[in-house]
């Protein structure tokens, strides 16, 4: 057998000589034309691919003698290799081994040339070398294919490299060259197609010894799986990417010849004209005079607060209004307590920006949006005002500790204990532009910060309201880039966690602040109603929090104009009118949750909407109008989870994974079932009963259906009765094999049935056979009689067990 195979493979290989080859068409017309071997040569394609690659390399080269030499070196080397191959071939000394060695040499050439030129300090990025290697092999194979497969391979490699160059290149000559490559590729494909048709007679039928196709496919799949496993097992970050391609830093690796890479590193170009034109580069080029304080922004946004009874002085610790350079020392610190009043008046000194003027960005955020940036928290609610209690003691707060990550200082202040509602961390970058505050604007769950070269723990501190600040500074210097790490919240764990336990634990814990986090106006019927109405039938825990939020989000409208000016109780007005600005939403939710026994606090800061994302600099701008308030709920006595009650604002909370969503659904469903158990029992019993007797029902329905369909003629009646018994057999597990005739099968399946059934089957089979296969002239039946036969069959036919049917066919003797 193997002899025959090798014979066939050698004799049937298409001959290079066009005259001896058998042609499918009449040879007269084709022999006079250009031989297709020349037309289907991938050499033009390879030349064009090389040209495209050189054009891409030009983009990265300097036009001095060294750069030009670098550009020309690889093509020259390749030309020499091709020349060697031609000389060897002319002397018929180009053996298979020599050819393979030359292929390897051409693949290595770009890397070798690269190493040589790196000694002079110039070089190309790794991807350019790799594609150069591919292109070199393609060019060499196109020049000296050796086998027909070599030609195909050369074409594939050349077209691949041309395509890849399109991705790498940015200038128009590259695209033009690639377009020509595309045309050459089309031409090559057409020529190959015709060539194949011509050679259809002498088709090769080579049996390969190794299952190459299988091995390649299996290898690719294995590699994919391995990569996927690497990604899954590593952190949530795509670690396989870093270090695989040359990168200009920002991640684990750095390559001075990299064109770009993960994290962008020093290849990132710092803009010099406009602060919004660059990413978070540690660069201090911009100064801006407009630096509104947080309080100015609140007033701009919500109007100025006022007091009806004027019992309290409004105290705002404003920083120095004098413009300071970013390096100036802080002269004052802002540690006085503050308030956030619900009673506000329209107007005030709203800053107006001319249309088209540049909006003064407060800061830039790189990271997932929408997001909240926390600035301040308020714990005490008294007389329409949120206040920061004076008794706050930061003694329970975690310590700051320094660690180094890739040589960069990170200040961690997360607790060692990680509650299960935290789901890993996300990294953000915040760049301060015009914000004047010493507090670090951070997403909820901030656990670590890094500012380049700031490696002292005492540089940071806790504010009285539990926000990280840069201590002993007036404000964070402008253009400071703060890298932040924040915990992500797992919605699933939150929903699953039992709040009653945590609340009890909280009350046991001797936290002096617990009192403030729980205080609420007892005499507020509307608030109590909101709390009880929205949480009816809902178990204690995160689900109640969600229910209150959902109630607010669904039944209340955002209306920043409805501030209930001059009202003594804006909250009551809000609850009555069901519309108002976001601080009333947050207040209602916080107080309603307090009335239910949860500890909450009121949070102010910025809302970073997705719409502010700048695709060019890949960052999101935060503007003064993005000030926002929301609340946080304390969970498990340790963590504060942000809650967003205002419609139109979204939290950056980890979405449920499919399995978690399913588990949550199960829990919800089981709760519903516990509440309605008699109904559930009845339904289950009904379903079980229906399932147990399913064959009966299906049979009944089928019989009725087929009987109705069969009305009209003898033919219809017989056909539909046949369909009925076919379906019944299929239901019983004795579906008639396609190759078995009706009579054989149905006599078999009713072999042990009662005599009556057998008679009915036999009568019906005779009828249907005659109907199906006899000449028309022999098929004259009385419809009434036929219906009677069919009806009797429908009543009695029931195939026996599949196991009782002989498996072998009976027609073989």
């Amino acid at each position: 057998m193997s002899n025959a195979t090798t014979n066939r493979s050698t004799t049937k290989l298409p001959s290079k000589n066009g005259n001896t080859r058998r042609r499918l068409f009449s040879s007269e017309s084709l022999d006079t034309q250009v031989p297709l071997e020349q037309l289907s040569s991938p050499f033009p394609l390879a030349i064009l691919g090389t040209l495209t690659l050189v054009l891409v390399q030009v983009e990265d080269s300097q036009f001095d003698w060294l750069g030009l030499a670098r550009l020309a070196a690889s093509p020259l080397m390749l030309g020499m290799i091709c020349l060697v191959a031609s000389v060897l071939a002319a002397r018929s000394r180009l053996s298979q081994l020599a050819h393979s060695v030359l292929v390897v040499i051409s693949a290595v050439t770009p890397f070798a040339v690269e190493q040589f030129f790196r000694m002079f300090g110039i070089g190309f990025a790794f991807e350019l070398q790799s594609i150069g290697a591919i292109q070199a092999v393609g060019l060499f194979l196109a020049w000296s294919p050796k086998t027909p497969q070599g030609n195909v391979f050369a074409g594939l490699l050349s077209s691949f490299s041309a395509l890849f160059c399109v991705l790498l290149g940015t200038s128009w000559p590259v695209y033009v060259s690639a377009a020509f490559s595309g045309i050459a590729l089309l031409w090559w494909l057409m020529a190959r197609y015709w060539e194949r048709i011509q050679k259809a007679h002498a088709a090769t039928n080579v049996e390969r010894k190794l299952p190459w196709r299988f091995l390649i496919i299996a290898g690719c799949m294995g590699l994919t799986l391995a990569l996927a496993a690497t990604i899954r097992m590593g952190s949530t970050r795509l670690i396989s990417l870093a270090g695989f391609m040359p990168t200009s830093g920002g991640q684990d690796t750095f390559d001075q010849y990299a064109r770009s890479g993960v994290g962008d590193g020093d290849a990132l170009v710092g803009g010099k004209d406009d602060a919004s034109s660059f990413g978070p580069v540690e660069s201090e080029l911009f100064l801006d005079s407009e630096k509104p304080s947080l309080y100015d922004m609140y007033n701009d946004m919500y109007g100025e607060p006022f007091k009806i009874n004027m019992r309290h002085e409004r105290k705002i610790g404003l920083g120095s209004d004098t413009q300071m350079s970013s390096n100036s020392k802080a002269t004052t610190s802002q540690k006085s307590s503050r308030e956030f009043s619900l009673q506000r008046r329209r107007g005030g000194s709203q800053r107006k920006y001319a249309k088209g003027a540049k909006v003064p960005a407060l800061l830039y955020l790189v990271g997932k949006t929408p997001n909240h940036l926390k600035m301040e928290t308020f714990d005490l609610y008294e007389e329409n005002e949120w206040k920061q209690s004076v008794r706050l003691s930061p003694k329970n707060l975690p310590e700051f500790r320094l660690s180094r990550e890739l040589g960069k200082p990170w200040i961690h202040f997360s607790t060692v204990e990680q509650p299960d509602y935290l789901r890993g961390t996300s990294r953000y970058v915040v760049k301060i532009i015009n914000l004047k505050s010493q507090r670090i604007p951070a997403p909820p769950g901030l656990s670590a910060v890094h500012i380049d070269k700031v490696d002292r723990e005492n540089f940071f501190g806790w504010t009285a309201d539990h926000v990280v600040e840069m201590s002993d500074r007036d404000h964070i210097p402008q253009l400071t880039v703060i890298h932040e790490q924040a915990s992500r919240y797992g919605l699933h764990s939150l929903r699953m966690s039992d709040f009653s336990v945590s609340v009890n634990r909280m009350s046991r814990a001797s936290d002096p602040n617990a009192e403030f986090w729980s205080s609420y106006p007892n005499d507020h019927p509307l608030l109590n109603r909101l709390a009880t109405e929205s949480t009816r039938d809902i178990p204690r825990g995160w689900l109640q929090v969600e229910a209150v939020v959902k109630h607010l989000r669904e039944n209340f409208q955002v209306d920043s104009e409805s501030r209930y000016e001059d009202s003594e109780d804006p909250l009551a007005n809000f609850l009555r009118e069901r519309k108002g600005p976001d601080y009333l939403f947050a207040t209602s939710a916080a107080l309603a949750l307090r009335s239910l026994g949860y500890q909450t606090r009121f949070v102010s800061g910025f809302y970073v909407p997705e719409s502010n994302f700048d695709a060019v600099s890949r960052q999101t701008t935060v503007l003064p109008e993005n000030v926002h308030v929301w609340l946080e709920v304390r969970v498990d006595g340790a963590g504060w989870i942000p809650v967003e009650p205002t419609p139109g604002f979204e939290l950056n909370i980890e979405e449920l994974s499919i399995s978690e969503a399913f588990a949550f659904w199960i829990v919800q469903a089981s709760r519903w079932m516990q509440m309605h158990w008699p109904l559930v029992v009845a339904i289950v019993a009904g379903i079980l009963l229906a399932f147990e007797t399913r064959l009966v029902w299906i049979n009944l329905l089928l019989t009725l259906f087929c009987w109705l369909m069969g009305i009209g003629s003898v033919r219809r009646r017989l056909t539909w009765t046949l369909k009925l018994i076919e379906w019944r057999s299929a239901l019983q597990g004795t579906r008639r094999p396609v190759g078995t005739p009706i009579s054989t099968w149905y006599r078999q399946v009713t072999a042990t049935s009662p005599e009556n059934t057998k008679r009915n089957v036999s009568a019906f089979v005779s009828l249907i056979e005659r109907q199906l296969y006899a000449p028309l002239s022999q098929c004259h039946y009385d419809l009434h009689e036929v219906s009677r036969v069919c009806w009797k069959l429908a009543l009695t036919f029931s195939p026996q067990d599949a196991s009782a049917i002989p498996t072998h066919r009976t027609n073989a003797h």
């Binding site: 396609v738 009568a763 296969y773 006899a774 022999q778 039946y781 009385d782 027609n811 003797h813």
Partner: protein, 327 residues
């Protein structure tokens, strides 16, 4: 039986059932306990096809052939094929009559109604092809003259599957001349005992001679009637599908030829007639498939029965046919 009443008017349409029953009975007396083989032989006889027995000696082939000959009232001829058998030994030859000074034609064994060609693969291809010509054309040509054979000329050829040394295997193209290949096989125990006890007290060890049931003319009428058994286009489509399946099957080198398909249809017609039906159903096609295809399928397989079952199992039986008008 109320349900069967409507079938009655259709059952009377099959004629000649008495004659067929008589033939069946006569043959089953000659070959005890082999009802299935006898059915196939009858089908082949009615389909005017020849039979190749692929079997060991002494299983009753000669008896069967003789019984057929006497049952149809025809002449029985027999050739024991040997390597030195010449074509003229079976067709006949001209001999010079010294008295009349003329050539006289001496008929060979082919001038009979039933011819038993024993161990056909032992004779030379030349002689084989002379026999095949007689089988296909029902005529022989001697010295440029054609002699017509009996219209019901029926050949039972045998070959021994065991002793293959010094044989001339029948060429595949020639095998197509046979309508089916059968194996008789050993009788079962009871039948063998019966065989023994029947021979006790008789001089001649062979079975008693079979009575004539029909005359050759009646046989011709029967054969003519079989040719008129209806085959609906649906069943013909099924036959063609099966033939195509044999051509496309990976293990079969040469599938069914159109001529084979014609023979298959005719044998199926005969089978339907034997089942007292005057139309062919897919069952008939399947029932005769094994012996008919055994002789025709050429390929790299040992177990042709398995291949045939595969093919029959893979081609769907036409059940829900396209509309054929109102019944």
């Amino acid at each position: 039986m109320a349900t069967l009443e409507i079938l009655k008017d259709t059952e009377g349409t099959c004629q000649h059932q008495g004659e067929i029953d008589g033939l069946r009975q006569a043959l089953s007396q000659a070959l005890v306990g082999k009802a299935e083989v006898i059915e196939f032989v009858l089908a082949s006889l009615l389909a005017r096809g020849h039979i190749l027995f692929d079997d060991l000696p002494g299983l009753g082939k000669t008896t069967l052939a003789k019984a057929i000959a006497s049952a149809v009232g025809g002449k029985f001829g027999r050739v024991q094929c040997t390597p030195d058998l010449l074509p003229s030994d079976i067709t006949g030859f001209n001999i010079f009559n010294q008295k009349t000074h003329e050539f006289e034609f001496r008929e060979g064994p082919t001038f009979s109604d039933v011819l038993l060609a024993d161990e056909i693969n032992r004779t030379t291809p030349r002689t084989q092809s002379a026999l095949f010509e007689a089988m296909a054309e029902r005529q022989v040509s001697i010295d440029g003259r054609s002699y017509a054979l009996s219209p019901s000329f029926f050949v039972l050829a045998t070959q021994n599957p065991v002793e293959s040394h010094g044989t001339y295997p029948l060429p595949e193209a020639q095998l197509d001349r046979f309508s089916m290949k059968l194996q008789i096989g050993y009788p079962d125990r009871t039948n063998e005992i019966e065989l023994l006890s029947a021979s006790v007290g008789r001089m001649d060890t062979s079975r008693p001679p079979t009575q004539q049931v029909i005359n050759p003319h009646q046989l011709q009428l029967l054969q003519q009637h079989v040719a008129t058994v209806a085959v609906s286009p649906v069943v013909q489509g099924y036959l063609v599908d099966l033939a195509r399946a044999t051509r496309e099957h990976s293990e079969i080198e040469v599938g069914l030829s159109p001529r084979s398909l014609l023979i298959w249809q005719r044998v199926a017609q005969a089978w339907a007639h034997l089942q007292r039906r005057d139309f062919v159903i897919p069952d008939d096609v399947q029932k005769v498939a094994n012996p008919v295809l055994q002789v025709r399928l050429v390929g790299r397989f040992d177990d042709s029965t398995r291949i045939i079952e595969e093919i029959l199992g893979s081609v769907p039986v036409p059940v829900f046919s396209p509309a054929r008008g109102k019944g």
